[in-house]
Structures are given as C-alpha cells and as structure tokens.
Subunit: 296 residues, 2 copies
C-alpha cells in the first residue's frame, strides 16, 4: 500500500535541503536574503516540486535531474505569493499563519525579495547543467516552459484577470479560464518539466498534461471549498474571506455541493489519464486524490 | 571617422525591431501587455543592448547571436526601473518625460508588468536556440550571467543598499560598492554576454570586464553630475533632486570638479583596457567617451 504522507515528507525534505543548499553561499545577514528565505521556508505545501518529482518518477526519470526544476518552481510560486500579498494587490497580512513578507519586513523589501526569487529560479536552472552532461538543451527547455507558464501569457496574466474580476460576478467558464492561467499553467509546467529528463513520447506527455490540467483546476476548486468550510487553525488563515470580498469562487458560482462533485470529477479525469501508466505513477495518483481531500 | 550617433541609431533600430517582434504574437489589447510595452518602448537610451552588441562586434561575433541577449538585458533594465519607481521605493511620477508605469496604469499593474518583463527576458533567451544550432550551452550561460548579475547578489542587492543609504552619508568606497551592484553588474553582464558567442580567450574577456567596470561606474558618476547641472528638458526629468533628497552622490561626496575628473579617469581606464583590440572595438571606444559626455 502506497504511503502518501511518507512520500510527501521525503520529497519535502529533498526539496528543502536543495533549497537550503542554494542559499548556503549567500550572505545570510543581508535583509534581502533573509526576506527571501523567510517566505521560501514558511512551511509551504511544496505541491509544485512534489508534482515535478512525481512526474519524473512516473516516466522513469532521475530525481536529481528534476530537482533544480522542482526548486525553481517553488521559488516562482513563492515570489508570486509575496507579490500577490502586497498592499497594491490582495493586501494580505497573514500567509500560512505567519505575517506576510511585506509585514515581516517592509513593502520595498517584499517587492525586491519577490524579484530576487524569480531571478534566482532561472539562475539555478541555468547553473544546473555542467559541462559535458548533455543536459544543456533540457534545462534550456525547462526555462522556456517555466518562463512561458509563469509569464505574461500564463500566471501573471491570471493574476491580472483575478484582480479585474474583483467586484464583478464571473461565469463558471470565466472562472476556469482565470484559474487555468493563475494556478493551472505553473502546475502543468511542473509535470512537463519533471517528465522532460526521461525518454517520454508525445503521447505520454499529453496524458501528463491532461492529468495536470485536471488536478490544477481541482486544486483551485478545493481551495475555494476550504475557504467556505475549512479549519482556520489547520490552514493558518481565516475562512469566509472570499465571501466577504464578494469574490467569484466555485461555491459561489456552482454552489457548494456541485463544487465538491466537480472536484471529484476532475480527479477522476486525472486518474483516467494515468490509467496506462505503471505503478511508478502511484504517487501522482495518490496526489490527485490528496489535492481535493486535503485540509489545508 | 567613426560616427557614433549613426551607430547608436542603427543599433537602437535593430533592438527596437527585435523587441517589437517579440510582442507581435501577444494579445496587444491586454492591459498587462500594454503596460509592459509602455515602459519598454518609452524611449530608453538602450545603453545595455548597444554595449552587448558592441562587445559582440569587438570580438568578431555575429550580431544575430547576441541580439536575444541584448533584448533580455533591456527588458531586465526596464523591469528594474518600473519597480524602483514604485511608491514603496523611489516613488517617482516621471521617467524619461513620461508618467511612470504605476501612474500611467496602476500600482498592481506596474508590479506585474515588471515581473512579466523579467520573466519574458528569460523566456526569450531560452527560446533563442533552435534545435541543432549548438548554441544551447551559450544561451544557458547567458541566462546564468544575466540572472547572477541582476539578482540577489547583484542589481537587486544594489537597490537594497541604495534604499538603506537614504538619509545617511556614504563614503566614496560605499558609494562605489553600491553602484557596482546596482548598475555595474548588469553593464558588465552586457559586455560578457555579447562576447560569449565568438571564440574569445579568458584574457580578452577580462579586458572587456575591466572596460565594463570602468564605464559602468563612469555612467553613474555622469548621472550624478547630470542631476546637478544637466538640462531638464533634454533629460525629461527634474534636476537637483538628489540634493533635495540628501542623497549621497559623487558630487556630494567628492565635489563637482573632482567628480568630473574621476569620470574622465574611468573612461581612460576603459580605453586602456581596449588598446590591444583592433578597429572592431571602435564602437566600444566611442561609447566610453559618450557615456560621460552625454546630455541625457
């Protein structure tokens, strides 16, 4: 029987150690470095790196090849949270039960720490290939995929749409398009980058993309549901805030029960995409279920 | 006789056309894209791209190989200006005679447009190499150099030091260290990236680095001098602002005449580094002089 909690724990440790190693040579007394580490090591779920590593395993790739991509994905995710939390955007004071970066430090430092994490993500990827390892083309492709997914036609455009959607009611279709960009694109990139280092065919990559699109959306639906009926103590943040801000969410657009059913269907679609994968895809299967059943 | 104005005009056009081509496939009606283009096409001097292309020419490299790096450098420079101008940082309303990005759009859009330009820089570099052109390793190295120079041990740390220096008087040494990071690192990266695609030896690269460090600092000294005695109409911004804000500058630390002499000496050092380069380095030589004699 596959033990997901143990798997998540192991992968978390692998990623955290790799992230700490990256910072080892930096000047740890500099405020900028402290702010970057503060947010990066604030106890995130590491969903994207774990999906990236799970994808590598599912297609028989080596974890060490995918690890720089896993770290870069988490840095980019963290920078996006730091900037989204800023007063000019969502103006959030708490994240994962701790003061957000601009509260713990100041606004200018938070902007720059976000910029620096984004930049460092690409530096880590560019430094991942050593002379003669034949992986330069792979890491260049990883950079192309991650930059594309997180840029002006991906995650950042999703945040623009999210802000523009405030105070107006979205349709289910508009909500889906927004989330496909805001969170879906980087989750899809996580799966694609993980699979890049093994000898996968186009069909296998398409199946991983289908899996990614379904769990990416399911993740967001589950987030919306948690904001209605989650446990604030487990989540480290308040619930009911979406409703307070009259935000369009799946529960507000579809209703709570229909949202739960929608999330379960998305997970079924994700599992179906993996049905011809062997037992090496067991972590990805378990992660799909976890994503909608998680409590934080 | 080498005509620098013609050279700058030609290189400007080359870079502007390449930048416009990058945006061609984007959704030009999206606010995010408009904000990115607004700042990128606001009439910047294109110093970094021109130095990058000049460096490529000086060592006999091909302009088309260096052009993606030239574009990426300008995008990163532009993102840094957008973020530096934000209310939480320098709080500037005018840049190059036009409203800054957060004034023309809004603060959230400006933060995201900066993020998107930074991300796009790396996407452009990652997409620059096509299958079988043997340049993947070169572009990965360009990404490593640019990310290193513009990140938490380079430009961003320089901006942190600049903000920390407000309202306290720096020594000439501290001022130099701050500028070496804030503007010097990316200028050095411009020269190194340009030279990367030709078959240069370590010695030639070191000489280009020496050139870069000297003109990088000279550029900043000249900027400080322009803030004292420049023509606001030509510069598109007010003068005397450094003094108003009690900012440590070369004129305030060394005095105006000593600052001018210092700038001239730096240019002499830069020219000396190039003395064994042939006439292909003529643009770099002329640029060194231009940097301290420019009126904007």
């Amino acid at each position: 029987m596959f033990n997901l909690q143990k798997y998540i724990g192991q992968k978390n440790q692998l990623v955290n150690e790799a992230l700490e190693k990256i910072f080892q040579s930096f000047n740890s007394s500099a405020t900028l470095i402290k702010a970057m580490q503060y947010s990066l090591m604030a106890g995130g779920k590491r969903i994207r790196p774990i999906l990236c590593l799970g994808s590598a395993e599912a297609v028989g790739g080596r974890l060490e090849d995918a690890l720089p991509a896993a770290c870069a994905l988490e840095m980019i995710h963290t920078y996006s949270l730091i900037h989204d939390d800023l007063p000019a955007m969502d103006d959030d004071a708490l994240r994962r039960g701790k003061p957000t970066c601009h509260i713990a430090f100041d606004e200018a430092t938070a902007i720059l720490a976000g910029d620096a994490l984004l930049t460092l993500a690409f530096e880590v990827l560019a430094a991942a290939s050593v002379d003669g390892d034949n992986l330069t083309g792979k890491y260049l492709e990883v950079i192309r995929i991650i930059a594309g997914a997180s840029g002006c036609r991906g995650m950042i455009q999703g945040q623009m749409l999210d802000m523009a959607a405030e105070s107006r009611r979205l349709t289910a279709g508009e909500l889906e398009s927004m989330h496909a960009l805001k969170t879906g694109a980087l989750i899809e990139a996580s799966l694609l980058c993980g699979a890049l280092f093994a000898d996968t065919g186009a069909h296998q990559r398409e199946l991983l993309q289908t899996y990614a699109r379904n769990i990416g959306l399911a993740f967001q639906v589950a987030d919306d549901i948690l904001n209605v009926e989650g446990d604030p103590d487990l989540m480290g943040k308040a619930i009911g805030t979406d409703r307070q801000h009259e935000k369009s969410t799946y529960p507000s657009v579809l209703g709570l029960e229909a949202s739960k059913k929608f999330a379960r269907n998305l997970v079924q679609n994700a599992l179906k995409a993996l049905e011809n994968f062997d037992k090496k895809a067991e972590p990805l299967r378990a992660l799909a279920t976890y994503i909608v059943e998680r409590k934080r």
